[in-house]
């Protein structure tokens, strides 16, 4: 465990703004040889771009069909839900507005990053009361957590 973590920390340690690069996007070959010269170490380090190249709405369409997820299409990203959410206040990795948006646009990498936090929703319903567009974010969180696990909607396993 400890060795694994150390390895993770050492990955890309030459990058000045290392903390702003996602772990999974740093590629560092164990051994790199070019023209008979050993070039392992920083020369082989590669940072994969984080550019979004495709919008994919299949997961979003799946969410719409799940119980209580039907109204998610109304969301206009005002952020009222996140503003009142006591969970988001304590742990900002849980952000209803953000979750809805990344699912809508199908940003796979982002979904992978935060999908386990969706279960933090306490179901207090403050967001649904605050939502100006009647999206029922509390219900959408239910639908999202099912969707992330469901085989029916792409994106969850």
């Amino acid at each position: 465990m400890a060795a694994e973590e150390r390895k993770k920390e050492e990955k890309g340690r030459f990058i000045a703004e290392r903390r702003y690069v996602d772990d999974q996007r740093i590629v560092e070959p164990e051994k790199l040889e070019a023209g008979g010269v050993d070039m392992s170490g920083r020369w082989g380090t590669l940072v994969l771009p984080r550019t979004i190249e495709e919008f994919d709405h299949s997961l979003f369409e799946g969410v719409k069909r799940l119980p209580r997820g039907g109204k998610v299409g109304k969301c206009w990203q005002c952020g009222n839900c996140t503003a009142v959410c006591p969970v988001a206040h304590a742990n900002p990795m849980f952000n209803p507005r953000y979750l809805i948006h990344i699912v809508r646009m199908g940003y796979q990498a982002e979904i992978e990053k935060v999908k386990d936090y969706v279960y933090l929703c306490s179901g207090c319903g403050l967001c649904s009361a605050a939502c100006p567009k009647d999206v029922d974010p509390q219900g959408v969180m239910i639908a999202l957590s099912i969707a992330f696990k469901s085989g029916r909607a792409k994106g969850g396993r």
Partner: protein, 347 residues
């Protein structure tokens, strides 16, 4: 003393003013630079008008029909006002016909300036590849396509994925620093029409702010809730033609993610800017232009008052506005001209 009013510009504001004055009993001299009445909605073949998808003909048709047939309205198409002397109640204006070069002189009681606007020329801003890459069109061109009921790319195939880029030539110090106020609503209206026309098209609105003022907000809500149009908050830095599709580069500011996505068609929500006609008319009539090139009213909150007695303003030559506002401004200016008439010739 004369009972005639000169209306410069045959667009919505000018036509409305002419119709109202003729109804009031005044004679109207309507001078239009182009060979066709109706202004921008007719010239660019607008399919329908926001927010209720009213067909353009329904709004413009009666106005044009009235002006062309009424004995009270003397229409000079293809003409411009070249000179204006005198004062309120008795101006002498020269109207030159551009086609045959003949100039006629008229005496008028007052002048209504309604010279309208031009769509921003997106080729000025290189980042949108307008004019260089195919399938990059302005909302004005899309309107004509929608009117034909045939939205296709340069290869004749309907697009599967379309991006609308908002605020092109608006809210930018390099081009025009003002907000054109209507192109959000118009773009959304077109996106909905596109969905209705094409069916299986994915539409993405790349916006900075959605400014669907007042009752136009319904368009915004419906587009999302009924038509499933996607909104991405951000601004596009570059449109690049790959030889097949258009690569649009931008940032989704809601997730802080860079995107580079291929589109079949890019629609630029080109803004409103004052046209050469406005500048020319202002020069001839001795009106002041503001820092943006629109005609500056005496007091910014009172649009009709040009600052010169007997000359009144209406429509988008003062500031960007929607067609409903333009029409009411036409009526408002007609009222001012009527007041002058009442004082001088007692109609």
């Amino acid at each position: 003393m004369t009972g005639t009013v000169l209306v410069v510009g045959g667009g919505p504001a000018g036509l409305r003013a002419a119709v109202d004055l003729a109804d009031f009993g005044a004679r109207v001299l309507l001078v239009e630079k182009r060979d066709q009445l109706g202004g921008a909605p007719v010239r660019w073949k607008y399919r329908s008008l926001a927010p209720d998808f009213t067909p353009t003909e329904e709004v413009m048709g009666p106005l044009i029909g009235f002006c062309e047939s009424s004995p009270m309205v003397e229409v000079h198409k293809g003409s411009v006002v070249e000179g204006c002397e005198g004062s309120v109640g008795d101006f002498t204006v020269k109207v030159r016909n551009e086609a045959d070069g003949t100039t006629t002189e008229h005496r008028v009681s007052s002048v209504i300036v309604a010279t309208g606007f031009e769509h921003f020329d997106a080729s000025v801003d290189p980042r949108y590849a307008y004019g260089r890459a195919p399938n990059v069109i302005g909302i004005n061109e899309l309107e004509a396509m929608l009117k034909e009921g045939r939205v296709v790319g340069h290869d004749g195939r309907p697009p599967k994925r379309v991006a609308f880029i908002f605020c092109v030539g608006s809210r930018d110090r390099s081009t025009n620093p003002w907000c054109c106020t209507v192109c959000c609503g118009v773009s959304i209206k077109q996106a909905i029409e596109m969905k209705q026309t094409l069916g299986d098209v994915q539409v993405y609105m790349i916006y900075m702010d959605i400014r669907t003022v007042g009752l136009w907000e319904k368009l915004y809500w419906d587009s999302m809730e009924k038509y499933g149009i996607n909104y991405i908050r951000g601004r596009v830095g570059e449109v690049y033609y790959t030889g097949e599709k258009l690569l649009v580069k931008g940032e989704d500011t809601l997730v802080r993610g860079p995107f580079e996505v291929l589109f079949d068609m890019v629609v630029l929500a080109v803004g409103i800017e004052p046209g050469p006609g406005t500048k020319q008319a202002a020069g001839v009539l001795g009106l002041k232009l503001n820092e943006y090139g629109f005609i500056a009213p005496r007091q910014p909150n009172v649009h009709v008052d040009s600052g010169r007695d007997g000359i009144f303003l209406a429509g988008t030559c003062i500031a960007p506005m929607s067609i409903e506002e333009t029409l009411s401004e036409g009526s408002a200016a007609a009222m001012q001209a009527a007041k002058v008439l009442k004082k001088t010739v007692a109609v």
